[in-house]
């Protein structure tokens, strides 16, 4: 029974942990603007994330290697340094977006300007990273993030045109008045929101924190193969909920508060409160994961002791990097740059950077020296290679699309 509960908790945590500020913002924007015609981008992104998370988790459990160990071993010290700097900067951008997201939720609840909340949220986040045990940090906010299921409930209360959503999903086309570059820019943003590199780094390092062994592969697979797709469904629900409420009024989502309007319309104050709780938990958890991921990847590159499995005094560099990441992201968001814009830029740049993180995982997952008989099978390799090609194409298209569309305008 305890084992069953543990498995269930892992799945629930993966569902809640999948959604972050990137998914909230991009799903809200695209649902209001493009209807369900970009659902395919979430589906592809979620499958890609699931395939690579399973691989990274297996490498962690069987090979005892985290993603960044693999990057350093397989790409060499110099290339890995470039990779580490790029991933670290991207993490900082994402962390700034998450901090801003938590502060915006608090502004929606209290009416106090989000800039006042940012340093307070940062201090609490750092304290949580410093003091809370890893499993608490992971499970508590993961479970609270499940509050976002309220979007699924809202869909059934709203006058949802299921047939229309189905048609738009399976026969997608660019809506009238929208250009192809803009359509594909937002497809990239949805794709990037599903495949954020920090999540894979966190997932594999988390495996080491939880002392995964070859016997933990089933648990890890449940988390990735069930949890992440269900998380993808939450993103789709947020997108779909915007269609009957925001699209008919031509609302162009530019603020986090607008993402909750469909839930409020369907379920009133209770629904709104639950949605905001979900926003808070998802962004806070993602922020903490992002700060930890920065600590993981830098410590793993330099070979320092890392992780919350050590007492802070035994891994001082790791905790210092986490603290520095939180301070830097706080400073960045306090420049008054719009958190929603930061989110959009971070997910799009994330889409450009994903092959750097994912390629070494595919290589190590095929190495018999590390993996023994748990190397990738044909299906994993076919899917992994296919998604790597998709990631490369996306990566090459990202910056031109960013400039051509002026970030989706």
């Amino acid at each position: 029974m305890k084992k069953f509960l543990q498995l269930g908790l892992g799945v629930v945590t993966a569902v809640g942990g999948f959604v972050d500020i990137g998914n909230l913002v991009t799903s809200g924007i695209t649902g209001a603007r493009f209807g369900a015609s970009l659902t395919w981008a979430i589906i592809i992104g979620t499958i890609g994330m699931t395939v690579y998370a399973e691989m990274a988790g297996r490498v962690s459990a069987v090979g005892g290697r985290t993603v960044f160990h693999a990057v350093r071993e397989r790409l060499g010290v110099r290339t890995a340094l470039v990779n580490m700097i790029a991933s670290g900067l991207l993490n900082l951008l994402t962390l700034a977006a998450e901090l801003g997201g938590v502060a915006l939720v608090l502004q929606l609840v209290t009416g106090v300007n989000y800039l006042i909340w940012v340093p307070i949220v940062a201090a609490v986040m750092w304290l949580a990273i410093w003091r809370l045990p890893f499993t608490w940090l992971e499970n508590l906010f993961g479970v609270l993030g499940l509050a976002l299921i309220v979007f699924v409930v809202a869909l059934f209360k709203l006058p949802t045109d299921w047939h229309g959503l189905w048609q738009q999903t399976w026969h997608p086309r660019v809506p009238n008045g929208e250009g192809h570059p803009t359509y594909f820019f937002y497809a990239v943003s949805l794709f990037g929101a599903c495949l954020v590199p920090y999540q894979v780094v966190f997932f594999s390092s988390g495996g080491r924190e939880e002392k995964w062994s070859p016997g933990s592969v089933t648990e890890m697979r449940m988390n990735s193969l069930i949890g992440f797709p269900l998380g993808g469904l939450l993103s789709i629900a947020i997108m779909f909920a915007a269609v009957p409420v925001l699209q008919p009024r031509g609302v162009d989502v530019a603020h986090l508060g607008q993402v909750a309007l469909p839930v409020t319309q369907a379920l009133g104050v209770t629904g709104l409160a639950i949605a905001l709780l979900g926003f808070f938990a998802a962004t806070f958890a993602a922020g903490a994961e992002c700060a930890l991921s920065t600590g993981y990847l830098i410590s793993q590159y330099f070979g320092w002791p890392w992780g919350k499995m050590h007492r802070p005094a035994a891994a001082p560099q790791f905790h210092l990097v986490c603290l520095a990441a939180v301070i830097a992201a706080t400073g960045f968001i306090l420049t008054t740059i719009d958190p929603v814009t930061v989110t959009l830029v971070s997910v799009v740049l994330g889409a450009a950077a994903v092959p750097l993180t994912y390629f070494p995982v595919l290589i190590v997952a095929n190495d018999r020296d590390y993996m023994g008989d748990r190397v990738n099978r044909r299906l994993s390799n076919t899917l992994g290679t296919l998604f790597l090609v998709v990631m490369l194409v996306t990566s090459l298209a990202t910056l031109p699309l960013l400039f051509i569309t002026k970030a989706g305008l």
């Binding site: 925001l246 009024r249 609302v251 508060g257 309007l261 319309q265 009133g268 709104l272 409160a273 400039f403």
Partner: protein
């Protein structure tokens, strides 16, 4: 090796020039100006829609005050930004100046009504909110007319 260095330098220079030139707004003609007015009207339609939705939810007791206030305040700021952005564009000819005056009138009016709605909402003035919503509906029709004509 030297050849690679030259190619790399050229690619960097071209990339920098592309970025720099994309930051400068090109001079626009009459059709381009009409497009900008149409785009501003389209944006304003969505902004009004967002504020109306939040205000209606607040009046129906579906949303708590701070939330509705924030969504309406955001809409008000977005509306002022749309007006400011259009004002910053130089109309290229006489016809565009006429269109600008017409658009400015409609968009300024809508932005003002969003301010009225925000003030009424913060004061808890339900009657004032209903009146602002009614005014905003009229404004929305004019904005949509502007969008169609531009």
């Amino acid at each position: 090796m030297r050849c690679w260095a030259v190619v790399t330098c050229r690619v960097i220079v071209i990339a920098l020039l592309s970025v720099l030139t994309s930051c400068v707004s090109p001079a626009i003609d009459s059709a381009g100006y009409r497009d900008k007015v149409g785009h501003a009207a389209e944006k304003m339609t969505g902004i009004i829609g967002s504020a109306q939705l939040a205000a209606e939810q607040d009046l129906a007791g579906k949303a708590f005050g701070t939330y509705a206030d924030q969504v309406i305040s955001d809409a008000e700021q977005d509306a002022q930004s749309v007006v400011g952005q259009l004002d910053s564009v130089q109309p290229p000819d006489e016809a565009s100046i006429t269109l600008r005056n017409q658009a400015d009138d409609v968009l300024q009016n809508a932005a003002g009504q969003l301010s009225d709605l925000r003030i009424a909402q913060r004061r808890g003035d339900k009657a004032g909110m209903r009146q602002s919503l009614k005014d905003l509906s009229d404004s929305l029709a004019k904005v949509q007319q502007l969008q169609d004509s531009a």
